[in-house]
């Protein structure tokens, strides 16, 4: 039975990684999950300098999910390289570093600092809905997405995954722009911009007013977008959005995802990533699936 998948020349032992921002750099979750089991660890977005993030409250619960506006708080690339990469290198898993920035120059600075670091893939966050500059501004305009993708590809030593926003009219336009600019893969979806009002206090539930909605409530939207995007481009797609169990992960793979990322579910169950990997193997055994790759986009 083969569970290995390939993202832009990087072999993952299985298709399961985590959604950036939900898992830190894996240290905290390593108390619950053997990180060696994961196909890859995708780290929280890192910028060129430390970012303080948004004021609290930064999250709120929604029906079947949650919303967050953390604001990409991160310790900056230098600390990340000194502390987080050496930790992850002690594990037998691939490292996907999520990169954020306020300007093209910010992204480039991080990408260049990572060039000589032992990381496997870069995921470029052009889809965070919770920061005023950068983030989603690059991910909602195909021309801006094309330009930043091209600029990063010109400097990056590792393969580049562009993480796309669902807050667009047509996801295929964005997927094609990323591919045309040389992206090696795309990942989607980031969170959907939402709002919640506390009617007792008559205020916004999250201090940032708007926040990104995640969790199983948004899964059908994510599956649809992964299906559309994976049929619009030839580069691999990493699918995510509300995956809670192995069945959900398999659904994304059948929609066209080569790998999947588990996000909000980690908060509900810190052991969930390992359980999903086991569950995928069990599904393959029960259904006589020899190779996980045969399931990718199989519902056509």
């Amino acid at each position: 039975m083969n569970t290995k998948v390939n993202i832009a020349g990087v072999e993952l032992k299985n298709p399961v990684t985590v959604a950036s921002g939900t898992f830190g750099s894996g240290m905290e979750y390593s108390e619950f999950v053997d990180l060696n089991l994961l196909g890859a660890v995708t780290t929280k977005g890192v910028a060129n300098i430390p970012w303080a993030g948004n004021p609290a409250p930064r999250i709120a619960e929604t029906h079947g999910g949650m919303m967050n506006a953390i604001g990409l708080q991160n310790p900056g690339i230098d600390t990340f390289c000194e502390r987080d990469i050496p930790f992850l290198k002690t594990k037998d898993t691939k490292i996907i570093v999520n990169v954020c920035g306020k300007s093209t120059e910010d992204y480039i600075e991080v990408v260049e600092k990572l060039a000589d670091c032992p990381v496997d893939l870069l995921e470029i966050n052009v889809s965070c809905p919770n920061v005023k500059e950068g983030g989603i501004a690059f991910g909602q305009d195909p021309k801006a997405l094309y330009n930043i993708t091209q600029a990063i590809k010109a400097r990056a030593k590792q393969p580049v995954i562009m993480k796309l926003s669902p807050n667009v009219t047509d996801i295929t336009v964005m997927a094609k722009a990323a591919e045309a600019a040389g992206a090696d893969a795309i990942s989607l979806i980031n969170t959907l911009t939402g709002m919640k009002i506390d009617i007792k206090k008559r205020c916004f539930a999250v201090a940032n007013k708007t926040a990104g909605v995640s969790g199983p409530a948004i899964k059908p939207i994510a599956v649809r977008m992964v299906y559309q995007a994976s049929h619009a481009v030839k580069i691999p797609v990493i699918g995510m959005g509300g995956i809670m169990c192995a069945d959900d992960a398999i659904e994304f793979i059948m929609a066209g995802a080569t790998a999947v990322a588990v996000g909000t579910a980690n908060f509900h169950n810190p052991y969930v990533t390992a359980e999903i990997i086991k569950g995928i193997e069990a599904y393959m055994q029960e259904n006589n699936v020899e190779d996980i790759n045969s399931l990718i986009g199989c519902v056509d």
């Binding site: 619950f32 993030g53 409250p57 708080q73 509900h268």
Partner: protein, 260 residues
């Protein structure tokens, strides 16, 4: 591996004041590791409410392997927990957070509202350390209905206050400090943010140290998601910015470390 998520059996669950519930669960693995001031996260059965609910430890019985959690019904999750009874099961993650430092010979322990429960375990531990009842001052602030007050009286000199004046002194915990001239070598406090802010100011003005237990909405509960941060006075060693994770670096902080 000190933190675990387990399915715990409910030993008992009863309402001890209006909307205040006293839940005891059997959670040996967590109880054996837990220290006072820490908390656990409770999970609902309803799959529409995914996030765990952080609840402070009111009691830790290491022999019986039980935890006592006293909470107020404030939303869907705690409403569901209020329906628990003996023999039910609940998923629980813990122990979480840092806990109080018991570095005081004359503690002044202040609890406000649903910040009172964790102070009971703290008070008991000071008593078990051999600190005499007259050297442990406990000030409890209520809206208008008391709970747990009798249990504090076993270990400490207890002063009661309430917003309505129905119980004890009409006013807040700091009004009691002035009225009864209460003093000590360390303040311990848990309660609503305005109360903790006033205590932080009081501690600075009177040159006494204070350990305060903070609260914020949480998602992971283990320090990964950065939802529950508070502002810190200095750049934090982990975050490299001026904020700290309440779930991991706290919930207990020295008042001078944080801006609230």
């Amino acid at each position: 591996m000190s933190k675990v998520k387990i399915r715990a059996e409910v030993v008992s669950c009863k309402e001890i004041a209006e909307e205040i519930f006293d839940l005891v669960i059997k959670a040996e693995e967590i109880a054996k590791e837990a220290v006072c001031g820490q908390f656990v996260s409770l999970y609902t059965r309803d799959s529409a409410t995914l996030l765990p609910r952080p609840i402070s430890l009111c009691g830790i019985d290491k022999e019986k392997g039980t935890l006592r959690l006293v909470y107020r019904v404030v939303g869907k999750g705690t409403k569901e927990f209020s329906g628990l009874s003996e023999g039910y099961y609940i998923d629980v993650l813990g122990p979480l957070g840092n806990g109080f430092e018991l570095n005081s010979e004359r503690p002044v322990i202040m609890g406000g509202g649903i910040g009172i429960p964790p102070m009971l375990r703290l008070t008991k531990e000071f008593s078990e350390k051999g600190i005499k009842k007259e050297d442990i001052s406990v000030i409890l602030g209520y809206r208008d209905e008391a709970f747990l007050a009798d249990e504090f009286s076993e270990y400490a000199t207890v002063y009661l206050t309430s917003d309505s004046g129905k119980i004890g002194l009409k006013g807040n915990v700091l009004d009691a400090v002035k009225e009864y001239k209460i003093s000590g070598d360390m303040i311990y406090a848990c309660g609503p943010t305005p109360m903790l802010r006033a205590i932080k100011n009081y501690a600075e003005e009177n040159n006494v140290k204070a350990q305060i237990s903070l609260e914020e909405r949480m998602a992971c509960g283990i320090g990964a998601c950065l939802a529950c941060v508070c502002d810190s006075k200095d750049i934090d060693d982990h975050s490299k910015v001026k904020n700290k994770r309440i779930c991991k670096d706290g919930p207990v902080f020295y008042a001078e470390e944080v801006e609230i």
